[in-house]
Symmetry: C2
Subunit: 330 residues, 2 copies
């Protein structure tokens, strides 16, 4: 499939180009558009009616799953799925299905990471975390339910008419989220806090933190970009370009997060600030310093932009996304 998408933005005659909104504005508009679509789709998927093969959906668990997945978040991962899929001409409604599955996995990870036994957070997106709003047992099941539901969504024919494509998405998501991806990254992160008397802060260098974060945060962001390529039947080269972009913004995301942790406050973050320092946790900032971390961010944005070169103007919105991630304030 050609790298040149059939998007309306591309079809616009050059003489009107000056009138088109700049990439940053188009990024904002797309992010909002995707967020609205994902909200509606998840609301529909997490309806009280049971699907074939299900017995019933117990109200308390369904409500908690909705609490954890609806009504919040920038929906950055879904945006990346939709924009990546657009590069390859994949239908938006299919991209939204894959994106909603990915968002379920992301939300499950937040619910479990917030648990008292893990990061013990009371606030998330300015609201009580799931175990505070409900209780610990319900929160554990909420995460389990959302993770399982992601694979239900990806297995549906609405995600893609070709079962082989759905299988490719499922395989990629399972590996991005599992022991060799996100869950493994969270394990390394807990070890980095010195919980298990091995791998405490002083043991971890820059490469260790990069690996940890590439697993904990990067793997899902990379899947977001790869899934668009998978849905659109992209060739290996194009998929690899998207994955490199995903890796760069994944690391940028975490560097920005580490900067926010020392610079932000709970009001703008919607979560507790200063936790990393309190936990004596090695971060990009503790390793590189604030200025070093800012330089690293700049370098990563450049890397993300260069990865998109094969897509020409069609990559502008994703480039704007990289800038947004690097400069976000919450």
């Amino acid at each position: 499939m050609s790298l040149v998408s059939q998007s309306p933005l591309r079809a616009q005659p050059n003489k009107h180009r000056a009138l088109a909104p700049d990439p940053a504005a188009r990024f904002r508009r797309s992010l909002d558009h995707v967020a609205g679509d994902i909200e509606r789709l998840l609301d529909r998927l997490l309806a009280p009616q049971a699907s074939p093969g299900e017995r019933l959906r117990p109200a308390r668990l369904l409500h908690a799953m909705r609490y954890a997945s609806l009504g919040g978040g920038k929906r950055l991962r879904p945006f990346l799925v939709v924009e990546s899929a657009r590069l390859f001409g994949a239908p938006r409604r299919q991209a939204l299905m894959a994106a909603s599955a990915l968002e379920c996995v992301h939300c499950y990870s937040l619910v479990h990471d917030d648990l008292p036994a893990m990061d013990n957070d009371a606030l998330r997106r300015g609201r009580p975390t799931a175990h505070k709003a409900y209780d610990e047992a319900t929160a554990i099941l909420t995460g389990d339910g959302l993770l399982t539901f992601a694979f239900d969504i990806l297995s549906r024919s609405q995600t893609h008419q070709n079962p082989a494509i759905r299988i490719e998405l499922i395989s990629a998501l399972a590996r991005a989220a599992g022991v060799g991806g996100m869950a493994g990254g969270q394990m390394l992160d807990l070890a980095a806090e010195g919980r298990f008397a091995i791998g405490h802060r002083s043991d971890l260098g820059f490469d260790d933190i990069r690996t940890l974060q590439a697993m904990k945060t990067g793997a899902l962001l990379q899947f977001a970009c790869a899934s668009g390529a998978i849905l659109g039947g992209a060739d290996r080269k194009a998929r690899s370009a998207l994955e490199q972009y995903g890796a760069a913004i994944g690391e940028a995301f975490q560097v920005a997060d580490d900067l926010l942790d020392i610079e932000g406050d709970a009001a703008t973050l919607g979560k507790t600030a200063g936790k990393d320092a309190a936990a004596h946790k090695a971060t990009f900032v503790s390793l590189l310093g604030v200025d070093g971390a800012r330089q690293r961010l700049k370098k990563l944005v450049g890397k993300a932009e260069r990865s998109l070169a094969p897509f020409g103007d069609d990559g502008e919105v994703l480039k704007a996304a990289a800038h947004f991630i690097a400069s976000r304030r919450s």
Copy 2:
């Protein structure tokens, strides 16, 4: 596909039949054989080497996943997958892949159910539960990792050459395990303990308990039987017969479990006995009495046997399994 399998047992001439071991002995042999195969397969699947798409498998998490899934259990669910698949001539190596995925889901559910916030159990199969052997955070991640890994396994071409069949397995497993299945059943079970000030013991009748248990325990047992039919490309009628068998033994399993909870002891059970009564939990025994529960068991075994009628002699080992489930002592 014909209901008549191509199994060697079937091909055996009638004059030798009298010399063949009885169904109960064949059941025992098959159960042991499957247990050995599953142990070896899970050991290989959960190797330290990362799969493509994974970064690395952190030692602590991988060890805990192995601790929770290797070296224990009767492997009843894998046995059901293998024996069901055999009815339809599906290759054993494919059945073992599906069975190992199912066992990962089963083991994840044990790890999470044992957590302090859930059933707070210290013993499982005569060993410390995962959060006792490791810690709570590691146990949460262990469950998450095993659940995710199940879908990784099912997405592999070794499970079946046809992606559409793999998708059918994934869809069925996700629904059996999720909010409308096992996870939802655990939610109902916690509610039945009166934790959330609704649905406490006196509210639950026989049908409620049946629904709860059909979700919590029955859904995975039913999937075990259905997955053999899916792998073997069985027609709707044959698959439905297997699912009815699965539903009957699922309920029988739970009735037997409830009887064991009041009759067993920790030494033979390998877990803490008498917990249901201590939790004032409605069970089949509290609702039907010991004699009523024993009668119910008998009825369910009859139902399981009748469901297997279309398979003739090929169903004998599964019939023996139903008797085993009803009469088990641990």
